[in-house]
Symmetry: C2
Subunit: 256 residues, 2 copies
């Protein structure tokens, strides 16, 4: 059984396309935010209640809308409609906007994926390198098919086993706009945002700051990362971890 | 110059205590959310404006309140009152509640720390293992002093340099309640939340789900992690990274 969520909300084109592809692999439960939750990272809701509504069924797909964040959706679905299912897989996206490089940190799409990983469920996040909500998603759909073919053939499980990674498959997939020449397994590029806010004065004379930002690729001389893949018409696949320990330092610091 | 923020809001006891300790090391700018933002992870605000207000100055500390998330606070302070400062250091906390183990993923306190790391500024998050907003913070203050003494002596820089970690110091410090027998440099414990929601029926007859949750320590047989430290009356120091690549898998997957 596949659980699908996203951070653009249940009405976004990206989640519709992801659902259309995924339903040919297994039964699907769509359990997604009732509206946009972009930039929510792994935010959770507490101190106020979550609710969800069954909004319909089409073929082998059930649709549920939830008032929470992407992470809330995974948590609540696991306790309700996605509880104790066979062969669970969580998919998130297709996000309208890249989550390559450090954008994984801010991403609600990837927040849902990380949440699945934390509770032992394999999960894959898909994002397209365009913020246009009406972007053509045909190429992205092909990439989703390629990745799910690999997933259901057990390719990723094999990789993980051979690498002695005793964790569920957890992937951040980013897809270029237009043509895609293949998949590239790679690392998260270093990058940062600069000049992030535009200052405006509102009608009351108050200063307001609107997030805009310029992205800076700090690994532009390297060819082993997700930004390189996107810039060279390839879809990037980064295996990700929820263990944020900086290992070399831990080892060094403990030698004293 | 030290920037201090948190996710419990500018009025919390934890940020007051952190500020009281930090001001003896350097000038301080407190730039914190105007109310609680717990569980906000690295969430950012966009599509609506941020504002901030100078709410006072006491000695070498300036206080600013902001309507955004902890991550927003770091971003906006960097573009305004914490721009181009000498020897920048970001501190976050003292959070009321542990951010050990996987709680780092959901933590707004640590979201601010990760944001500083992404733009090249050293940063340390402090949390105490108690959700009591009125918890005694004297021991925690001692731990903050010990960690800042090490920081300003250059101990952490030395560790990072010797480990060839070409990134700013970025630490997740968790502090036990009551006595503290020392500092332990260690890794993030594996863990997860289960049975997360309590179901209630509201006045309108609608089902509501309230986040509660039981935490499960998946590394309870190990003695090298932050939960072990807390359970043994030590403060844990986990050096953390914003590179979420699962390296062994990347290396294996690229061998094909």
């Amino acid at each position: 059984m596949i659980l699908i969520t996203n951070d653009d909300g249940i009405s976004a084109n990206g989640i519709k396309m992801l659902t259309n592809v995924a339903r040919s692999y297994d039964d699907v439960i769509v359990f997604a935010p009732d509206g946009p939750r972009s930039g929510m990272s792994s935010a959770i809701t507490y101190g106020k209640p979550l609710t969800y509504t069954h909004i319909g069924k089409r073929g082998n797909v059930d649709f549920y809308s939830c008032n929470g964040t992407p992470t809330d959706c995974v948590k609540l679905a696991r306790q309700t409609v996605f509880k104790d299912v066979q062969k669970p897989l969580v998919l998130s996206g297709i996000n309208h906007g890249s989550n390559a490089s450090v954008n994984i940190i801010y991403s609600g799409t990837m927040g849902a994926v990380l949440e699945a990983n934390l509770v032992g469920i394999p999960a894959i996040g898909f994002s397209i390198d365009s913020h246009d909500a009406n972007e053509d998603l045909e190429v992205a759909a092909d990439v989703v098919r390629m990745v799910l073919d690999k997933y259901y053939r057990g390719d990723f499980d094999d990789y993980y086993a051979e690498a002695n990674a005793d964790v569920p498959v957890c992937l951040n997939v980013n897809i270029p706009v237009g043509e895609c020449d293949g998949l590239m397994i790679c690392q998260q590029a270093r990058g940062m945002w600069s000049e992030e806010f535009e200052k405006k004065v509102n009608d009351k004379g108050e200063e307001e700051y609107w997030l805009v930002g310029n992205f800076i690729n700090l690994d532009k001389d390297r060819n082993d990362n997700d930004l390189y893949a996107l810039n060279n018409h390839m879809a990037s696949i980064v295996p990700v971890t929820t263990d944020m320990t900086l290992r070399p330092c831990t080892e060094r610091m403990n030698r004293d």
